[in-house]
């Protein structure tokens, strides 16, 4: 049944968020730590485990795939419901702080990718550990 996939996805998301929330409160933070990432690992883990035991059919996968495919429209809806006006009129300090952070972050990404992240380099140079 297609819905089994969706139900598994929903279960993984909720458990992942719950674990993230627990990690957060254990560390005294009012925010979840890595909930979505943990949910992703749970989803990868459970679907791999189920298919190794022959309990996962491609039909179930459709119920996950659908949500994976609609994320671009969902991201468009997210972009459309952001407080973009707030970002634009937040004043010079907010704009300068936000842009400075983006500039240094892109520079950092460029450096890190040059060091670690090139597919060809990592494969040829044998840096994969």
């Amino acid at each position: 049944m297609i819905f089994y996939g969706t139900a598994l996805l929903a279960g993984c998301l909720f458990i992942g968020m719950a674990i993230g929330q627990l990690i957060g409160s254990a560390l005294g933070v009012d925010s979840d730590i890595g909930g979505v990432g943990i949910a992703m690992l749970l989803l990868i883990g459970t679907t791999t485990w189920l298919s190794r035991r022959g309990l996962w059919s491609p039909t179930h996968g459709t119920g996950v795939q659908y949500w994976g495919d609609v994320y671009i429209p969902i991201v468009v809806a997210m972009a459309a419901s952001q407080n973009v006006r707030g970002a634009l009129v937040g004043g010079g300090l907010a704009f300068a702080a936000g842009s400075a952070s983006v500039v240094v972050a892109f520079a950092t990404v460029a450096l890190l990718i040059r060091r670690f992240g090139r597919h060809s380099v990592t494969q040829a140079g044998g840096e994969l550990r």
Partner: protein
């Protein structure tokens, strides 16, 4: 008649949103094909249209939820809210290769640590240049330069003024939106074209919405990898902002 239709839009808000966003997608993908011969990705055009619509409605209504401030588009806010977004993003991990994740674990953590430090540093230095000297305000603004969630969480924890908290949210929004727009344009130059690079990118940028939308507009296959690392950024930022970073700032400015 009008009232009855308005009631229907209200009741079926999410359904209306699905249809409306579908039209935006159709227009964007056709525009990408016809006017740019596919050079500018359809998703990039759609995200840009979404942001533009959010500015227009925000200016007209003075609200904070973009197009969702208009009753007709209220469902867009639900569709683009945290619940559907997280469900869809986790679903993109289906089919991710475990080896790709395993090989990038350490680099992911290094990226997270470096990304948070440079974001805090950038925000704090800029705030200092603007004449801010109070360590609480400096830390809050630095946190805002990380993400628009780290800013208010840190500010609230440290007891910052509501103006500073609002500014930190604005700084985080500027970052998120700049990342959305700059990523597809810069991806080629920084080598952002494989899963490992996407994990580094997600860890350093950290702003969830910016990373997801930026990667979606660059190469949808990279989204799960960037989202995987970015998801730890906000939580870690909220952790070190009011503690480690605040202590460092306080020691530096000597208050």
């Amino acid at each position: 008649m009008i009232a009855a239709l308005a009631g229907l839009v209200d009741k079926y808000a999410l359904v209306v949103a699905f249809a409306l966003v579908g039209i935006v997608m159709l227009v964007s993908y056709q525009a990408s094909r016809l006017f740019t011969r596919g050079r500018v990705h359809g998703s990039a055009i759609a995200i840009f249209l979404g942001l533009a619509a959010a500015v227009a409605v925000g200016l007209a209504t003075g609200g904070r939820k973009g197009v969702a401030d208009l009753p007709l588009f209220a469902g867009v806010g639900v569709m683009g809210g945290a619940m559907f977004r997280d469900l869809a993003i986790v679903a993109t991990a289906y089919g991710v290769r475990i080896e790709d994740l395993r090989a990038s674990g350490v680099q992911g953590m290094v990226s997270l640590a470096l990304g948070l430090l440079v974001a805090f540093a950038a925000g704090i230095v800029v705030a200092w240049c603007f004449g801010v000297r109070d360590p609480v305000a400096l830390t809050t603004l630095g946190a805002g330069a990380a993400t628009y969630i780290v800013g208010p969480v840190t500010g609230a924890a440290l007891g910052a003024s509501s103006e500073m908290i609002a500014l930190s949210i604005a700084a985080g929004l500027v970052k998120s939106i700049l990342v959305m727009m700059a990523t597809p344009a810069l991806a080629r130059f920084i080598g952002l074209d494989n899963p490992r690079a996407a994990m580094i990118f997600g860890g350093v940028m950290g702003t969830n919405s910016g990373v997801i939308a930026g990667l979606a507009a660059t190469d949808p296959k990279l989204v799960p990898y960037g989202a995987m690392t970015a998801t730890f950024y906000t939580g870690l930022g909220c952790l070190i902002g009011p503690s480690l970073i605040y202590f460092i700032v306080r020691a530096l400015v000597g208050a």
